[in-house]
Symmetry: C2
Subunit: 295 residues, 2 copies
């Protein structure tokens, strides 16, 4: 399949839905809604929503039913980036080559835009049900909320923050950070797509294994890119992880071993998809692409 | 009825449920969970959860079914206080006589503790359903999410922040701030309680009017207390609204007119309850108490 064409098409599907679901910039308070939209439409690759739609499709579900959950994932991902970039956190001035939210709208509005995006995800999940029955909707909300909270993404961010600049981090801590900070949302995206699509227990389990492997591979690949990529390709300073003493796979186990680990994880992800037919082609192509991408 | 005894008893019911529902402080990451618990158990009066339980009871619902939503409201209220107190927002060092979250745990953890509490509210709402059918649960989640978001509480906070120190605010803006920043969560608490209790359309409408009147009365009474109360009674600096040029009812329409308005709103709240029997006594007593309290 032509993955590039597929990603482009799905990206547009997600962007159109986000455009429709998000409050318009003219709605009061306009500064808040402008700020929310600024970060949502700041050039994200829509990895999580695309994975969610692909997982739903893999088990025979409908894209229309999965779009609210897909957009909710992107809103949660975006809120986490806005808060991560704040002066009290990573203090980043640029993200994907653009000024970060708080550099444009100020710190207070950035905090509130993050809060509102997180909340908007749950407004969307509870308001737009498609043809999904209410019990499944509650299960999807639970899946996404749990992955985003103190035992998921936020928990990973706390441990990441606490370990930064505090001397060498062991592999167990780094693994905790990766599986929680980024892994949890990716895993939940795949699982939520499967749940929306009505996956049976065995398919849900297989897609969970796929999501876990892909999530970790994605993060290791990110660590590798930070070492090998150029500032131009990344849209942020290359080598920034090392400069701020951040724990990464290359720093901990070396560049070659990290690449090998990423490749192993991609193999595991592909193995997990063995039970599915050609509908799983996008998930297969995405897994392979993760370790090849340049940005 | 003995309102003081009732509030004390209900406060304990809510505290016990929060204790049960919140992640324990020993769970990883411990700093995050300690920080979340610090602010949740910092002496809040549990106004929103108590209103929610009382509204549920008024329409014949069960407290057990309403406790998840009641605790979710308190988690959302608490997260909003943590973020409001941040240096980039109101920059408050004390809240209810105790150091604010960021003074104890640092700014980054305070931001993340707020994020995690907001998320935990939706984990709880989607995980603990009691005997409630899934369609009603989705409706309750929608009610609470909408009231907390950019067209509700967060929207009110943005307008409040933007109007501060920017010269005189008109009554329309002040009304927007009050109905959104504090009113939305109080209204949603009463409505969510009614929804959990299986209220019919007319009862839901009556309780909505009660919630709106009580929410605004509560805020005007708060403004009045800031003028008339002592620092000791309030647990924060008396006169702090005036000192920071904050828009308030007393500043805009005078102290006496504000008191009259608060009393009118309490009458409207009581009128809205006319259709209910003695099960609504707690709601009646709470409405009357709002304009008499000293802190």
């Amino acid at each position: 399949m032509d993955l590039k064409e597929y990603l482009k098409k799905q990206c547009q599907v997600v962007d159109d839905a986000l455009e429709k679901y998000l409050p318009r910039a003219e709605e009061l308070p306009t500064s808040l809604h402008s700020s929310m939209r600024y970060s949502v439409f700041a050039g994200g690759k829509r990895v999580r929503p695309i994975l969610l739609l692909a997982a739903c499709d893999t088990v025979g579900g409908k894209t229309a039913d999965a779009l609210p959950a897909a957009c909710a994932m992107e809103m949660i991902h975006t809120y986490s980036l806005i808060h991560d970039d704040l002066p009290a956190m990573d203090d980043d001035d640029f993200r994907r080559g653009n000024p970060t939210n708080h550099k444009v709208y100020g710190e207070a509005t950035a905090i509130l835009a993050g809060d509102a995006l997180l909340t908007e995800a749950f407004i969307l999940l509870s308001r737009e049900g498609g043809d999904l029955d209410p019990a499944a909707r509650v299960r999807v909300i639970q899946e996404i909320a749990h992955a985003s909270g103190s035992h998921g993404m936020v928990g990973g961010q706390v441990v990441d923050m606490e370990s930064e600049g505090g001397g060498p981090v062991d592999l167990a801590t780094l693994s905790y950070i990766h599986t929680h900070k980024t892994g949890a949302l990716i895993r939940a995206s795949v699982r939520a797509g499967a749940l929306v699509g009505g996956a049976d227990a065995a398919s849900l389990e297989a897609l969970t294994r796929y999501g876990e492997a892909v999530g970790l591979a994605f993060q290791i690949a990110d660590d590798i890119l930070d070492v090998e990529g150029t500032t131009e390709e990344l849209g942020k300073d290359a080598g920034s992880d090392e400069a701020r003493g951040k724990a990464t796979y290359p720093a901990l186990m070396g560049l070659e071993a990290s690449k090998q680990r990423a490749n192993e994880l991609v193999e595991m992800a592909l193995d997990a998809l063995a039970r599915f037919d050609e509908k799983a082609e996008p998930l297969r192509a995405i897994a392979s692409y993760i370790v090849k991408r340049k940005s």
